[in-house]
Every structure is written in structure tokens, then in C-alpha cells.
Symmetry: C2
């Protein structure tokens, strides 16, 4: 797909009309990420084979590699290369995949399908699914520690970034609040609290880690933080919208699940049109955040455009 980025004065004073082939870019980056994940993870035959098969089953189940793409796009925006950002891209994908495996468990969202395939516990059983999630979470920190050190950002900074974004005050807090909110009437601020933690926290960490791998300036790190936060919220609002407007086949996961589970969603709380307006506003804020990159953040901009306009 080709995304044409128009001159939009509110976010990019120096922008010219740019054509950036996001499709090729994403495909190439995903290939590099997949190869790196394959190198970092124990082989499927490594003893005990069950756990490594289970880890790889979900890790290579056709995920969009959105978080790794954000890591690599942020590195690029800060003038960095792919190689030093790659371990961090793999680490966030391991975190994301672990969280999906555990979220899908019967004790949580109880989902049978994910990305059009049976969920991890449907294939390997609940015990192994819990352990495969644990193993991917642990693997994320091992991979992050194997990254190179940077002049401005140490391994300590990197590990803290990942641990805090995934911990009990962020990613896990979101899942807990989501679990506790089921069947209850939530307010918009409560729903936003969940989205900030379930989605924005790790997206924000992804772009920050990409920046760190490029030894970015504090101003760039601040811009990436704002960008990640807003893109994360927008992404989640769109997820809510797609759940009510798309079919199971197109989504690759059970559509209408949020309604069945009586989950609070933006369309349910504020209606479909207002939800779309909120998503558009959040994306506009994301673009504003990219101003300091003065038009060098092609991949990040294109990714944000794509995430707002996606249909599955």
C-alpha cells in the first residue's frame, strides 16, 4: 500500500508532499524482526520442546509486528540504524505476545481465536500457555540485555523502560482494570485509564526504546513519548470501533466479543461517530508530536496514518 502524506501545516511547517511506501517498509522490517526473533529464541526442538513450540506458535502466528515497526521507525526518525534497534523491537514483541497469550486464557478474556488461529491454550493446554507467556516475558528481558549499550542510555535505562511499561502500574494494571470492569458501567475516564495502560504504555515504550537505540536527544525522547501515548489511545479506540463494525473473518478474531462480554468500549459509551472523531483527534495530536523531527519521521507518520485508517 502507498500512503501519501499531504502537507498539513498544523503539524509540519517544513513538510513537502512526500510519497512513502509503507507497505514495502513494513514488510522489510517485519522480515528482519522475524529473522532476529528466530535467532534470539531457543529452537523449537530445544528441550523441553513443548514450551519452545508454544512460544514460537504465538510469536509467529502472523502478528502485524506493529510494536517492532514503531521501535524501528522511531530509531530511523532519530537518525539511527536498524541493527541496534532490532533487539529492542524483538523484546517488545515478546512482551506483547506474552500479554496476548495470558489475556486469552479462560480465567481472563477466554478467547478461542487470535489472528485467525486457535489461541495458545486451545492448542497446548492452559498450563503450557501460562508457562509460554512467562517464558516470553522472561525472554524479552534477556533479549533487551543482549542489546548494545548506548552513550546516553544504559542497559539499566532500557530494562527499566520495559519493566515499568509492562508492570503492575501500566500494562498489567490495564488488564486488571479491564478484567474488573467487565459487566460494569464504566465512565469515559475509567475507559481511558484502561486504554492508556493496556495499549499506550507499551506503544509509548516502543517508540522511546527506538529513540534510545539511536542515542536520541532528550527533546526527541519527549516528542516520541507524546507521539506514542496518543497513537496508543487512538489505536485502542479504533480497535473498539472495528469490533462493532467488522466481521470475525476480516478481524481474524471473534468480532462483537466486546458486546457479548458487555465490555465498556468507546462506541458503547459515546457512540460510533464521536468515537471516530476522538480517534481522529488523537492521531492529529500524534502528528503534532512529530514536529521536532521536521519531516524526517516518514515511517512514524505513515504508520500513524495507517493505524487510523485500518479496517482490521
Amino acid at each position: 500500500m502507498t500512503v501519501t502524506i499531504l502537507t498539513t501545516p498544523f503539524y509540519m511547517a517544513t513538510a513537502r508532499k512526500q510519497s512513502f511506501d509503507l507497505g514495502s517498509w513494513v514488510q522489510n522490517r517485519a522480515r528482519e524482526v522475524d529473522a532476529a526473533l528466530d535467532r534470539f529464541l531457543p529452537k523449537a526442538s530445544a528441550k523441553p520442546a513443548t514450551i519452545h513450540k508454544a512460544m514460537r506458535y504465538s510469536l509467529f502466528a502472523g502478528g502485524k509486528r506493529m510494536r517492532p515497526a514503531l521501535v524501528l521507525a522511531a530509531a530511523e526518525a532519530c537518525g539511527g540504524a536498524v541493527a541496534p534497534a532490532l533487539p529492542l523491537a524483538c523484546a517488545v514483541e515478546c512482551i506483547h505476545t506474552y500479554s496476548l497469550i495470558h489475556d486469552d486464557l479462560p480465567a481472563m478474556d477466554n478467547d478461542d481465536f487470535r489472528r485467525g488461529k486457535p489461541t495458545n491454550h486451545k492448542v497446548f493446554g492452559e498450563g503450557i500457555a501460562v508457562l509460554a507467556g512467562d517464558a516470553l516475558l522472561t525472554q524479552a528481558f534477556e533479549i533487551a540485555a543482549l542489546s548494545e549499550a548506548w552513550p546516553r542510555y544504559s542497559h539499566k535505562d532500557i530494562i527499566l523502560e520495559i519493566a515499568r511499561a509492562s508492570g503492575s502500574l501500566q500494562l498489567i494494571a490495564g488488564q486488571v482494570a479491564d478484567l474488573e470492569g467487565e459487566g460494569k458501567e464504566l465512565t469515559v475516564p475509567q475507559l481511558k485509564y484502561i486504554h492508556e495502560r493496556k495499549t499506550s504504555a507499551l506503544l509509548c515504550a516502543s517508540v522511546r526504546l527506538g529513540g534510545m537505540s539511536a542515542n536520541c536527544t532528550p527533546a526527541q525522547l519527549k516528542a516520541l513519548t507524546d507521539f506514542g501515548y496518543n497513537v496508543g489511545l487512538a489505536f485502542q479506540v479504533i480497535d473498539d470501533i472495528l469490533d462493532v463494525t467488522q466481521t470475525t473473518e476480516k478481524l481474524g478474531k471473534t468480532a462483537g466479543k466486546d458486546i457479548t462480554a458487555q465490555k465498556a468500549t468507546y462506541p458503547r459509551l459515546v457512540g460510533l461517530e464521536k468515537s471516530r472523531a476522538i480517534a481522529a483527534r488523537l492521531t492529529a495530536r500524534s502528528f503534532e508530536a512529530l514536529q521536532p523531527f521536521k519531516g524526517r519521521a516518514f515511517a512514524l507518520e505513515a504508520l500513524a496514518h495507517y493505524l487510523l485508517n485500518r479496517e482490521h
Copy 2:
């Protein structure tokens, strides 16, 4: 309790008769570890309160703090202080507690009691128990990253040590093999494989991390590795023995569980007397490993004596 360490020529050429009050030592260290864990963890009231209550419920459920004690004793043996070893002691206790919470789940060992109290999922439900384990695992890496850096050992070394000992080739591999071995006739080598991973891996990492926090020499690290490996195996053999010889009340967990679950144990495979001989031999090897410390490893020796002679 007072453990008297006798002159035992096979492991300590220069040893004199030493009296070391292990009871006071363990009590003082446990107090310091508990205070540090309380500082490192979000308050029980931190939002969402459920997850922080669940994390703290299992973390402060009266565990023996054996792994933190090993971290601190190893640091002492290498001439190090308590303060720099404390974050690592807390990190391994978080890992240990997470593994217990997940092991106790219905999909795994399905245990209702742990340390004389209802298990995490019995109190908070399965979903929260999975997430509390996830959160403690994540917290372990955050705490480890918050430790000071050492001249010989970087944050990278520390994180790799913890991640590898807890990962899919060690701690989690042991749990998988244990799960898959239930109801099957295992051989002694297969049982040893499980014990090496389920117990030795983290005990070994504990003493190594203690040594690292004291900036130990490579020779000291090697000695600690041998010590931790053998103490870990001995500990697990004794656990098997206690399961068949002690009451539920004394153990603080359901006794005879291994028999009910048809789990392979040393007493079941080689008999009670031979199991005791194996445990004694492994402990003797642990003491031999401490030779390079020339009688300075009082706490480590006393801990090993205690672990071999414990009754619960």
C-alpha cells in the same frame, strides 16, 4: 537455632570449630529483605489495588527467604556488604514467588494451600493470580535494574543471570518437564533434570548474584556456582523426602501430594534411605565447593547444614 560447624577435613583444610548463630543471622537478613521488598513494591493501595494486594499477599505469606539468604550469604563470603546485594536478594524472591503462584494454579499443580495459607488463586481468583505472577516476574527485573553497577559485573550480566536462570531452558523448563512427567514412570536422570531446573537453577543464580554484588573473582564465582548447584539438588531431594515423612500441618502445605499426584520423587524411585544418602552426598559436595573461601563462608555453610537437616 545454633548450628555448630565442626572441623571437617574433607571440605575445609583451615577450618577451626566455629559457632555461628544461623537463627539470628537469618532473622536479621529476612527483616532487611522484607523491608526492602516493601520499599521496592508499589503500596497495596496503589491503583489497581487488587493486583498489588495479590502480589503482596504471596510475597509476604511467610516464605523462608531462603534464596535472599543465599544471595546475602554469598555476598558476605566474598567480603561484600548487605546493601548492594539487597536488590538482587529481592529480585530472586520475586521470581521465586511468581513461580509458586503460577505452579499452584489449577492448570498446573492445583494446590489449595501454600505455607499454611490459601494459595493466591483461592483468594483472588485465577485471572488475578496469573497477573500477580506476571507482575512479580516483571518487578524482579525492575528491582534488579535498580541495583548499583559493579566494576566486574554490569547490569547486563545481572539481567542475563536472572533471565537465563528463570527462562524456558531452566526454571520454566523444570516446571514443564514436571507437568509432563505427572503420572509417568520417570527415570532418575529425568527426575534429576527436573530438579536441576526447578530448584538448582535459581539457587545457583542466587549465590552467583550475591558474589557479583561483592565484585567477586572468577574463581569465587565458579565456587559459588558449584555450591548452588549441589545445594539446590540436595534441597529438592529433601523436599521429596519430607513430602512422604511429614504431616500437612508441619509442612504448611498438603503432605503426601506427590504420592496422590503420582509424581516421580527420589523416595519413590530409589527408596527413602538411598534418597537420604544422595542428599547427604550432595551437601558434602556443596561444602567442598566452599573450600576456596577458606572458612569465611560461615553463613553459606550454616545454611547448607540447616537445609540438609530441616524437618519442614
